[in-house]
Amino acid sequence: MRTLLLSNINMQPLVAFLKPWETTCGEFNSILLDLSNPASPASSADYDCILCLNDSDSMMGGAFYGEGTPEQCELFLDVLNSFCSAHAEKLVIANTFCLSSGRWLSFADLLHPLSLRTAEVKLNEGLIAIARANPNLLLVNTELLFRRYGEDALLSESFWYLGRVRYTNRMFRSMAALIHQAVDAYANRSRKVLIVDLDNTLWGGIVGEAGPLGITLSEDGPGRCYRDFQRALKAVQRTGVLLAICSKNNAGDLEEVFDQNPMMVLGREDFACIRANWEPKPQNILNIADALNLGIESCLFIDDNPMERELVRTALPEVAVPEFPQRIENLTAWFLHEIVPASFGRYRLTAEDQDKTRQYKMNAERQRLSRSLYLDAFLDSLQIECIFHVDPKERIDRIAQMTQKTNQFNLTTRRYQIPDIQRFLDSCDHAIVSMEYEDRFGSEGMVGLAILNYAESRIDSFLMSCRVIGRNVENRILQRVCDLFRERNCRAITAEFIPTAKNQQVATFYDSHGFKVLSQEEDGRKIYEKIIE
């Protein structure tokens, strides 16, 4: 990413830590000018990411010492807002306001209406409002670093007064990591499945020996370490992460724990997939990924046993297998500090995320039913309803997310960020068609997507979530796409298939839907045409 770093202080030391990004520093303390001047480098096409990292104390100016109002800060908010709306194509990253703890108002800071604390809360509210209105603005909560490591470790007075460098390398290093993680979360590059072991991971002790009530799991004492870990897993599950179990145990022993141990926070309904048996763990992990229709690179595996970890790392290098904390009292803090932001980061949650486990469970139900009926009868019995929307602006997050996450049923695999989608929505030469799916088991939310280029009579993107593959709904969205082209008097539609490692199942999709091959490249890419009446 070509990045321009703007600040009101000397942030040059951050550049080295932001690698592999190519980062250029703007002029010292010219952030307001850079954002407001349309002829400045920030507005030019040279940069696709603008990083605005302000030091809040300095930006407060005299207001930090109780003189006047924080005008500069308010001005920054105005300028940031205009810049984000004027440059929807750029990713803009800004840090939240976070004032240092030294306050001239001392204890009156809490109650005084003009205190720094009050100003800080108000400014952050302003910043959040701008981020809600501008999908291309990514806010990074640098305050988290101060909470975790403390000012003494992160601020440096000598570098500040000597060279306008406010932070130590501890801060620059952590800040760069935080920004990288936030961008991964923003671009939906997080993992999707969290696979856990059972004994000495989800609870203490070995259930096969101690029995369902003899394991270490309680509200008080060391058993609380595991109970809190389960709470944290459940919280992360509600952000759209699928939980799965991979453990060497008798399935019956696990069932007894679920049925009998009242200290279990997680129930069997919280797991999208359970493999408790005596097969090698790499095999079970492959099975889990297969059952969920996801790749193993979507999986992270937590196990207390170093032998098992090494086995999985060697057999399946794509699966993330982090080290396990040495001391069990650190389990939950380790998970929340190290694992969640790095591998399961989220920036904007969609309704689909929060309902994910239920959707995968419904799928399992449907699969069970499909085995007992012939396909047509099965599909009829589902009573499928598809609802289409054209340019559903309010679903921009989900639209971008689908282009980024869909691998298998994806004809062109073009990955788009929110600013790209915004451009399509704003352009009258493009249309975005979404398909929502519902049947008698419930709603799957938005599962189908097509991006149409009217100017070129071309289907730019055509994709469907793997959850609804095999239910013939792809015909319905393709029909809707053809109807839209027809309404715009397009007579010949072109479409493409671009092969990837994952999308072989749609290699002949257009062939079997009345499209004719116009040309085929050496890399397997095919161009199609369809004449519509």
Binding site: Q12, P13, A16, S156, F159, Y161, G163
Partner: protein
């Protein structure tokens, strides 16, 4: 100054300046090493603080412009 400290400091300076390992020796200073300017000086001192767990004062940052002076800060 111990040889161990010297090799740690020369490696640190080379790392911050993106120079090949071994291209910075015990006699290196701001005057002799290309790229060791005032901005690099701040970066070297920031890394020095972090690596050796010492807190530098303004005088230390402004004055320690050679490998030998950086090593002297470690001795104190």
């Amino acid at each position: 100054m111990t040889t161990e400290n010297v090799s740690l400091v020369t490696a640190l300076v080379a790392g911050v300046l993106n120079l090949p390992k071994g291209s910075v020796d015990a006699s290196a200073s701001m005057e002799t090493v290309p790229g060791w300017d005032s901005i690099a000086q701040l970066n070297i001192c920031l890394e020095f603080q972090e690596r050796f767990g010492v807190v530098l004062d303004m005088e230390g940052i402004a004055g320690a412009t050679s490998v030998s002076k950086l090593c002297a800060l470690l001795r104190n």
